[in-house]
Amino acid sequence: MSKSLNLFGGTALGTLAVLTMAVNFADRNIADFPENPPVMTAIAPPVVSSGLVGAANASTGAGEGKFGLGRPALAEEIAAWDVDVSPDGTGLPVGSGSVEDGEMVFSENCAVCHGEFAEGVDNWPELAGGEGTLADDDPVKTVGSYWPYLSTAWDYVHRSMPYGSAQTLSDDDVYAIVAYILYSNFLVDDDFVLSNENFLEVEMPNANGFIIDDRAETEYPIWRTEPCMENCKDSVEITMRATVLDVTPEEEAAATPAAEPAVVQTAAVSEPVAEAAAAVTETAAAVEAPAADAADPALIAAGEKVFGKCKACHQVGDGAKNRTGPQLNGIVGAEIASVEGFKYSGVLSDMGGIWTAETLAAFLADPRGFAKGTKMSFAGLKSEDDIAAVTAYLASFQ
């Protein structure tokens, strides 16, 4: 968070600042531009990197080398974007949240990926545990075991979470979530309330676990030496093979392998032509058929965009698999809670009925209102247009 935000924070000060900037801006607009080559080159080209700061320090006189481009940032614009929080607490807004509230907010917004106890689901990050493991093989790095500053957790939750709905949490909810994460790491008690006032009192276990890059001392002197060219080793043995693990993804080769005899290649040329012709016929058929269904490509395309909010948990299309949520091929018209291999919440399992446009709309508008206790921790789609679009998109995967 910037000092300038503090400067421009108050209304009176803010007005004053804007006025000052306006004068400054006007002044700069009547400055000779672009005919001031001497000042344009006022900042020396980089020679050695350590000299740059010195050069810049020496040349920070007002107006030097400026182009009069851009406009002054308004105080409310800076306030909207400058929300980063530093380790010393600079940038924290006034507010508070309890572990108790945090448990609920976390369950609703975070648990779907991070687990009810911040233990992490599938490949999603675990946020709790791992204390004392940093020197082990495969250390467990969590907010509790690894993160040196609590400000980082607050800043990240506030700016980048919940995943897929970033910047939707209130400041108090962020305090509550961070309090709950601390509690999950046994760093505070269950009656703890985190606020901007006691923020710096929380001790992070790994606060002293970091050193600044020391490669220049510990590595470079070893490796800045003339390397061996001959008889560098007595023997060389293979000690490990990637093929043993067999974790490399499969690949598809190009349609036609190189170095084919010409005769075969000629045959191959005619094949795609036939395929293309077939494809054209198919397309023609496809264009005619849906006219009755009135599947609106624009609506489906809009739905694909809306589905971006769902993708963190749901897959759809070729090869879609159950992830945090069930795969959604054929979901429109399917029985509720009927996707094979997915473990549903009790409320959806017992619900019965069919996912029609209507039931889907009701569920998507207010997941927890429609099915209290559903594992789907999604706030809901506010716009009816978005619901119609995403339903059309899902209906296109039958």
């Binding site: 380790p87 940093l134 897929g164 676990g209 590595e219 560098c232 043995e237 993804p249």
Partner: protein, 424 residues
């Protein structure tokens, strides 16, 4: 033919072996009679090809459809916060085409119009400013070629040989010619007088996407060679690389090259954001971790032959080629070993090395048809010699993820196939 369409990688390798056998047969046929590719009039030599209106923006020909970015599904929980890999095994030269240059997102690749783009400079500056895209185009521009390497490139190989292909072991890298405005120019426009002594100041840079990835950069680097870029390889940035504007931080880890750059704040401290504390830090054997490990040390890899680019021609003339780079400056020399590091010979650089850019090397050699343990070793202008994995582990232990710049070994077998191995 039908089973030759889109075969799996293993089938492809088998197919390659078959093709090599076919070549031998073709060679024999050539001795016995004329080549029909020459003696018979071919389709393409008699009929029309595509007109100039067929492809207003061209993609590679269908025969190159396997030269694509690939991802490793098990690496991450979801593709919107994940990485894919440049097909370096199939490219030559040094410039990476944008369409197959690796992507790394923390909340997916967003679509941000130039008209909706705003860049704010605030914090310890004389006048906090907002620039439009059009404003940026009015500042003096620079062109530079730089590599961008993810700090996690080769990270999956720390504990042992794991992924079978240069694309997967070393493909978190691309190299483009950037056009943009120097960050120094923009900072000067806002005025650094308010920052006082610049020696201990920082700039914090942040993206406009939902992850709002933010990193702290020391002022010394910010005033040196950092670029606010809007073009790559002559055309607009691709959305997956931060269209319309990204930061270019030469020689430093890719995470700092903030995409969809929306804000630059001059500060008196590092923010210690998530991506510079919990991630992109290097845990040593004793459990302490290095932070601010920004520079990417000298590194190289042989791109061909390699597991995805086997030798298909049998013994005889062989071109061994690869890439080398260093975040400390220019590559001055690359050595290649065919016997797992017992003996080395110096490769030919296609061009003199350029600072913080990929350098292409070639070793034009004869293959005996026997096993090879291929390695390459980069040396940069500071005299830094790319270390072995054992040397790195001696200093850092085995729990690191990032900044693995070790020497890579490919075992090339008599049938021309290659595999990723570790050697003693």
């Amino acid at each position: 033919m039908s089973d030759m369409h889109n075969p799996s990688r293993r089938a492809f390798l088998r197919g390659t072996a078959a093709a090599a056998a076919g070549l031998t047969a073709a060679g024999a046929a050539r001795a016995n009679g004329p080549d029909p590719l020459i003696t018979e009039v071919q389709e393409w030599a008699t009929a029309f090809g595509d007109g100039v209106d067929a492809t207003p923006y061209g993609l590679p020909i269908q025969y190159e459809s396997d030269v694509v970015r690939r991802n490793v599904e098990w690496l991450t929980a979801d593709t919107t916060s994940s990485i894919n890999f440049t097909p370096i095994h199939a490219l030559d030269g040094t410039i990476t085409p944008q369409g197959c240059a690796f992507e790394r997102h923390h909340s997916g690749a967003i679509e941000l119009r130039k008209e909706d783009y705003r860049l704010m400079i605030n914090g310890l500056v004389d006048t906090p400013l907002v620039f439009s895209y059009a404003d940026l185009e009015r500042f003096p521009r620079e062109n530079h070629v730089y590599f961008c390497e993810c700090a996690a490139n080769t990270g999956m190989e720390w504990a042992g040989a794991q992924l079978n292909g240069a694309q997967f072991t070393h493909g978190m890298i691309h190299n483009m010619e950037y056009t943009g405005v120097s960050l120094r120019t923009l900072l000067n426009e806002a005025g650094l007088g308010a920052a006082g002594d610049l020696a201990d100041k920082w700039v914090y840079v942040e993206g406009a996407d939902a992850s709002s990835n933010g990193r702290s950069i020391p002022m010394d680097k910010a005033l040196d060679d950092v670029l606010v870029a809007f073009k790559a390889n002559g055309e607009a940035l691709r959305k997956e690389h931060g269209y319309p504007v990204r930061l270019v931080v030469p020689g430093w880890e890719g995470n700092m090259w903030v995409k969809w750059l929306r804000r630059i704040e001059v500060m008196s401290n590092a923010v210690e954001s998530r991506e510079e504390t919990s991630k992109y830090t290097d845990t040593l054997a004793d459990g302490t971790s290095r932070k601010w490990t920004w520079v990417m040390d000298a590194k190289s890899v042989i791109t061909s032959p390699s597991p995805q680019a086997p030798i298909t021609h049998g013994a005889g003339p062989l071109v061994i080629t690869g890439l080398a780079w260093s975040g400390h400056g220019a590559i001055t020399r690359v050595d290649v070993s065919k016997d797992g590091g017992k003996t080395w010979e110096t490769a030919r650089l296609a061009k003199p090395g350029e600072k913080m850019a990929l350098t292409r090397f070639y070793l034009d050699t004869e293959w005996s048809g026997e096993d090879m343990l291929l390695q390459s070793r980069a040396i940069d202008e500071t005299g830094y010699v790319q270390p072995t994995k054992a040397q790195l582990r001696d200093v850092r232990g085995e729990n690191s993820i990032y900044h693995n710049n070790c020497i890579q070994t490919w075992h090339v077998m008599p049938n021309g196939e290659a595999e990723n191995v570790e050697v003693s």
